[in-house]
């Protein structure tokens, strides 16, 4: 707040009782302390509850834990803010509620420069820190890995096709070896789709005219679903296909079988 505003807030008549900066109510010691204590307890309970909730599907890539941790950090930062706002609202309603027929006015407080600086500065620092943290995690997630397996993903209304370049193999099922970094190159033959395996956490649109890329390393054997996340027409909600993460040896033999089947198909 500007200096001028402070001056303009000097009122011709001072209200009886506490000076403007003092939020205390006459005859009562530090209601803020009481409120802060209650708020802190409520925040701790709130944080415990939201961390206890099992939000995500089972993680199945090396990056998934980092992303889940980002969410936990966001929750820990957010819950106290929500609790603070709700605590002040509830406390004010409880403490300052008008009695029937109450014609009084409230305390004519026009502002408080120090308080306003505080609630500009703290959120600014908080969101800046979160942004830096988010950027670091993002860079780690997208870093190029050695020995990447390349997989071409081709979306069309309303199926996915997966190709393994250099192997002449095309498949309707996405099969990936455990613990080997993969780079997906995503294309579409018609409209925009979005390649998403919730257990992998990562997602990228398939855009006409572009090849988009994502990198990840599956680290848990299992069967998952690749889900289309961008509205693509009538069949959007059923555009789901199987993903299998298998042992590297199983992957190699699967690839060999597919190659043989493909060559047979060409030969006949």
């Amino acid at each position: 707040m500007s200096e001028g505003e402070r001056e303009s807030e000097v009122r011709p008549v001072a209200p009886a009782g506490a000076p403007e900066q003092d939020p205390r109510i006459e005859g009562e010691k530090h209601p803020i302390v009481k409120m802060l204590a209650l708020g802190a307890i409520a925040s701790i309970i709130g944080v415990a509850v939201v961390l206890w909730i099992d939000w995500f599907p089972e993680p199945a890539t090396t990056g998934a834990d980092d992303i889940d941790l980002v969410y936990d950090v966001l929750l820990i930062a957010s819950v106290p803010i929500l609790v603070l706002v709700m605590a002040v609202v509830l406390y004010c309603v409880y403490k300052f509620r008008a009695r029937p027929g109450d014609m009084r006015d409230g305390a004519p407080i026009h502002g408080n420069a120090r308080l306003e600086v505080v609630w500009v500065t703290i959120p600014f620092i908080l969101v800046s820190a979160l942004a830096v943290y988010g950027w670091i995690v993002l860079d780690d997630l997208e870093a190029k890995q050695p020995n990447e397996l390349k997989v071409n993903v081709t979306a069309r209304q309303f199926t996915w096709g997966f190709g393994y370049p250099g192997e002449e193999v095309r498949s309707d099922t996405l099969v990936l070896p455990k613990d080997r970094p993969v780079e997906f190159r995503i294309n579409t033959e018609d409209v925009i789709h979005s390649f998403w395996v919730p257990e992998f956490r990562l997602k990228s649109d398939a855009v006409p005219g572009l090849t988009t890329k994502i990198r990840l390393t599956p680290n848990r054997i299992g069967r998952y679903q690749v889900v289309c996340a961008e509205l693509c027409g009538i069949g959007h909600s059923v555009m789901r296909q199987l993903v299998r993460v298998v042992e590297p040896s199983e992957f190699d033999s699967w690839l060999a079988d597919q190659r043989a089947a493909a060559q047979e198909g060409q030969g006949s």
């Binding site: 500007s2 303009s8 009122r11 011709p12 939020p23 939000w55 980092d66 992303i67 969410y71 966001l74 957010s78 803010i81 929500l82 706002v85 609202v89 309603v93 300052f96 509620r97 008008a98 109450d102 014609m103 006015d105 409230g106 004519p108 407080i109 026009h110 502002g111 408080n112 308080l115 609630w119 500009v120 959120p123 600014f124 969101v127 979160l130 942004a131 988010g134 950027w135 995690v137 993002l138 997208e142 018609d190 409209v191 257990e199 990562l202 990228s204 649109d205 398939a206 855009v207 006409p208 005219g209 572009l210 988009t212 679903q225 996340a229 509205l231 027409g233 069949g235 959007h236 909600s237």
Partner: protein, 637 residues
């Protein structure tokens, strides 16, 4: 009135005739052009419906109903009807169905019309929740389902939230700043009458061949350039809604800049006026971008241009950039007027000045500026150039700072107030908590690694409904209840109002809260069907949604019954300071029998001797000018 006179006079008969005639003109253009090129078939109905039905006919109906009469007379050099003010005020309910230039009548027209579309959009949501109550297909096929959520969102955004704020502001702003009307009353009437055209068009798309537009309200190309005829109803409908929006915003800007009462400096304006001033800036700057994006789609569809065909030099991502360059600021277009309403309601019902008035106004301006720098956070997984994501993340998070200023200042306004928990106050407090929650999930969505997982999931559906329902719509309810006595001259039923709030608040959370869970757990948005694992939560969501929908009936009954039979309202039932409460309820035909003089800030509750405005017959000099609210002269000794 003879039959011929009835058909010549502006009104509904002439509107239907005008629409029919203009449809024939449009059809003639299409058929004539096709004949000239020798194309077959001559009657290509998609083109005829687009040109004749969607573009020409609405103009015909606007001309017919009388929006352009004055200008036509003037342009033709004929004597314009002398302004006898016959177009002012409403004497019976029928006057609300005519072109009227009174801002109070137009305000009510806006509000009632937009609530009609709110109900229509809400019923569509009920059908969607019925379909989603369990996995599989029960009631509607996937194409209809996609149409339902697309029309639902379009109606809620373009025909409810944006225009209902314009309606409330239309009624209240001229009264608040001490003006007899808006700056351009005839433009104001035209702005209103374009809305029903847009809304009817969007709803009529269900009857188009191939069903309603089914590409979401975002209408991403190239899906939107390939889908059946229904898409045209959106593409053209948005133009009418957008034109209405821009014209109203210009009207507000000119009104607020030029028509403030003597003494009403910018720093003595109530925050609702500030909010609508800043919103109007956003509308005027941003709305042409969505008009552009939809014109590109229209041209691609109808004239065979290639804006969005990659093989032909088009660029698919360009659509998203242009679209979101409007549609992110549109989020603030849908929120800033609500901020204004909440400032009025909280200050009045806490009997306290708004805490940090100037910072409240500056934070609105900051949101306007920052609001234009964050659009690509909707595109974190779109495949756009990757470096742009990080600056967009940072600006998106920074916008939390001015928003935080507002939240904290409202809290500080409550502090040591004398709080009257009337219905509008309940909705304002509900807004603060729900909007904080929606804002927090917004911060989360700014963090790219998290968004990559949850974008296009039900987490987004939860977030937008916390921001737009728990945020905007709660403020709309607060505003409607707050100014209901002023608008109708009658009091609403407080008990029913409170019941409406509590049921809305509880079932709103039960409906949209669980969507956070299913979204993070892997349920994509905009799906007619989903995996078995989400069945339990979706059943809960659907049941809550039906009860949530039912709670609206209480509001509807309260409004209708109170408007007809409610007890008469006093001029100033809330003992508020701003000028609209200093005139009778409802206000006189020209608002003020004498123009008020503003002598102090609008929120000087509890300041001894403070007055916001005085009317002529009182001597202004006798009143000590209070400080605060800024810009006030030094205290008179």
């Amino acid at each position: 009135m003879t039959l011929t006179q009835r058909f010549i006079a502006p009104g509904w008969y002439r509107a239907f005739i005008g629409a029919a005639l203009m449809f024939l003109v449009g059809m003639g253009i299409v058929v004539g052009a096709r004949a000239a090129y020798g194309w077959d078939p001559l009657f290509q109905w998609d083109a005829i419906i687009t040109v004749g039905g969607l573009v020409a006919a609405p103009f015909g109906s606007l001309i017919g109903i009388g929006c352009f009469d004055y200008w036509f007379y003037w342009a033709a050099g004929r004597p314009t009807r002398p302004e006898d003010h016959s177009g002012h005020g409403a004497r019976s309910w029928k006057d609300y169905f005519r072109v009227n230039t009174d801002h109070k009548v137009i305000g009510i027209q806006y509000i009632v019309t937009t609530f009609f579309f709110f109900i229509a959009g809400g019923l569509m949501a009920m059908v969607m929740r019925a379909e989603l109550a369990q996995p599989g297909t029960q009631f509607v096929d996937p194409n209809t389902f996609n149409g339902l959520f697309s029309v639902h969102a379009s109606l809620m955004i373009f025909l409810f939230i944006i225009p209902v704020f314009a309606g409330i502001a239309n009624y209240v702003i001229p009264l608040m700043i001490g003006a007899p009307d808006m700056a351009f009353p005839r433009l104001n009437a035209l702005s209103y009458w374009m809305l029903p055209a847009a809304g009817v068009m969007m709803m009529a798309s269900f009857f188009a061949e191939g069903g309603a537009f089914a590409t979401g309200w975002t209408a991403y190309a190239p899906l939107s350039t390939e889908t059946p005829l229904g898409q045209q109803f959106f593409t053209v409908g948005v133009q009418f809604a957008g034109a209405s929006s821009i014209a109203t915003a210009l009207n507000f800007l000119v009104t607020i800049i030029t028509m403030r009462a003597p003494g009403m400096t910018f720093w003595r304006m109530p925050l609702l006026v500030w909010a609508n001033f800043t919103t109007s800036l956003l509308v005027v700057i941003a709305t042409p971008f969505i008009a552009g994006s939809q014109f590109f789609v229209l041209l691609d569809r109808s004239l065979g241009t290639h804006f969005f065909t990659p093989g032909q030099g088009g660029d698919v991502l360009m659509y998203q950039h242009v679209f979101w360059f409007y549609s992110h600021p549109a989020v603030y277009i849908m929120m800033l007027p609500g901020f204004g309403i909440v400032s009025e309601v909280i200050s009045t019902n806490s009997r306290k000045p708004v805490f940090g008035y100037r910072m409240m106004a500056f934070s609105l301006v900051a949101i306007v500026i920052l609001g234009f720098t964050v659009w690509a956070h909707h595109m974190f997984v779109s495949g756009m150039f990757s470096w742009l994501r990080v600056p967009m993340m940072i600006t998106t998070m920074l916008i939390a700072v001015p928003t935080g200023i507002k939240i904290f200042s409202w809290l500080a306004t409550l502090w040591r107030g004398v709080i009257h928990l009337r219905t509008p106050m309940l909705f304002a407090l509900g807004f603060i908590t729900m909007f904080t929650l929606g804002g927090i999930s917004g911060i989360m969505l700014a963090v790219i690694p998290f968004t990559i997982h949850v974008s296009d999931t039900y987490f987004i559906v939860a977030h937008i409904h916390y921001v737009l329902f728990g945020g905007s719509v709660f403020t709309i309810f607060a505003g409607i209840y707050h100014w209901f006595p002023k608008m109708t001259g009658r009091m609403y039923d407080e008990t029913l109002g409170k019941l409406h709030f509590w049921l809305s608040f509880v079932f709103f959370n039960l409906t949209f809260g669980p969507m956070h869970f299913v979204g993070i757990d892997g349920m994509p948005r905009r799906v007619a069907d989903y995996a078995e694992q989400f069945a339990a939560w979706n059943a809960v969501i659907s049941i809550s949604a039906f009860l949530f929908g039912a709670s609206f009936l209480i509001f509807l009954y309260n409004m209708i019954a109170s408007w007809r039979h409610g007890p008469a309202a006093a001029a100033n039932p809330w003992r508020a300071n701003s000028i609209e409460w200093q005139v009778s309820s409802p206000p006189p035909l020209f608002n003020f029998d004498e123009i008020p003089t503003v002598v102090g800030g609008p929120y000087e509750y509890g300041v001894p001797g403070a007055v916001h405005a005085v009317f002529k017959e009182k001597a202004p000099a006798a009143v000590p000018a209070p400080a605060g609210g800024g810009g006030a002269p030094p205290p008179v000794q």
